[in-house]
Amino acid sequence: MIEQIRDHVKALFRDGKIAAFLGLKDEQGSIVPHLFSTAEELDNGLSIGVGATNTERYPLASLLMTLLTGYPDKTFGVLVRGCDERALYELIRWNQAATAAERIVKVGFACPKELAEAHECRKPFPDVSVAGDKTEPVPYARVRHVEALELPARLNYWLSEFDRCIKCYGCRNVCPVCFCNVCTLEDDVLTKTGDLPPENPMFHLTRAIHMAGRCIDCNLCTEACPAEIPLRTLYKRVAEIIEEEFGYVTGSPDSGKSPLNILGPPPGHTSAND
C-alpha cells in the first residue's frame, strides 16, 4: 500500500502538480506529520502509520489549512484517510479553504479493517483513493448505551465523565474542524477560566453544540483526552440529531449550506394569507 502511495506522489512531483506533500513520516520509530518537499525525500521514511490498529493519526486537514494560508500560490498534496477527507469537505464549506480548494491534491487511502473497527469508523475510506481496499463502515454503539440509561442516570453519567475534565483543551486543539481564532470556551464571561472542574455540563455541552453540523467523527478528541472522557459519543449524538432534524450529514462533499446557517422560513414556506 505504501509503495502505491509513494509512486503516486512521486508522479505528482514529477508532473509538477504539487509543490510539497503533507504526509506522515517515520522518525526513528515515531510517526509524525511531515511536509515532503521533494520526490526523493519520499524514499526516506514516508509512512501511513504502523500496524493495523495504530494510533498515529493527526489532524492533517488543519495543518494543511496553515500551509495553504502561508503559501498562497502553492499547491499541496495531502495524505487523506476517510476522516481527513471529511474534515476537508467541512473546512471548505466553512470557507476556511474555499478559495484554496483547487490547491489541494488529495492522496487517499482506505484504512485497514482492524483500524476501522478499532475506531468504529463510519466511512473508513476517502472518495478519492489511490491505495488500500475499502472496508465496510463500522457502526458505533456507545450512543445507544447512553440512551438505554434512565434520565437521572444519564446526567450522572455525563457529570461523572465531565468532572474529570482538566481543561487542557486537547479535544479542541486536536479537532480538525475547530477553526476559530478565539474559542468560546475560553470566554471568561461564559465560564470562568481557571476553575476546575469546569461548569458542567455546560462547558462540554457548549462545545458539543459548536460541533453540531461540524464534527466529522474522526475520534481524535476522545483519543487526545487525558481524562478519557467519551466526547465522541456526545458529538456523535449531536451529529445524529442534525441529520434527523435537517437531513444534513457532515463531511460529505455536497450537502450544501450548513443547516445552522439558514435562518427564517424554509423554502416553500408561505405567508399566512395565501
Binding site: 437521572p152 446526567l155 455525563w158 455541552l205 456526545l234 449524538r237 434527523e244
Partner: protein, 60 residues
C-alpha cells in the same frame, strides 16, 4: 437542542420554544401557565442542587 439535553440527562420538557405573536396575550398567559405546571410536575432541576446547596452557597 432538546434532543441534546435529553441525551445529557436533562428532561427536554424543561426547554420550551413557542411562537407567540404580539397579538396573542391570552396565549402567552396560557403557555406560561402550562409550562410552569409542567415544570412543577417534573420537580426541581437536578442541576439546581449544585449551585444552590448550602455548601456551594458558602463558597459563593
Amino acid at each position: 437542542m432538546r434532543k441534546l439535553l435529553e441525551f445529557s440527562g436533562i428532561e427536554s420538557e424543561r426547554l420550551c420554544l413557542k411562537w407567540v405573536s404580539s397579538a396573542e396575550g391570552p396565549r402567552f398567559a396560557q403557555v406560561v401557565t402550562d409550562f410552569v405546571e409542567q415544570i412543577r410536575q417534573l420537580g426541581p432541576s437536578r442541576l439546581r442542587k449544585t449551585p444552590l446547596s448550602p455548601a456551594a452557597a458558602q463558597i459563593v
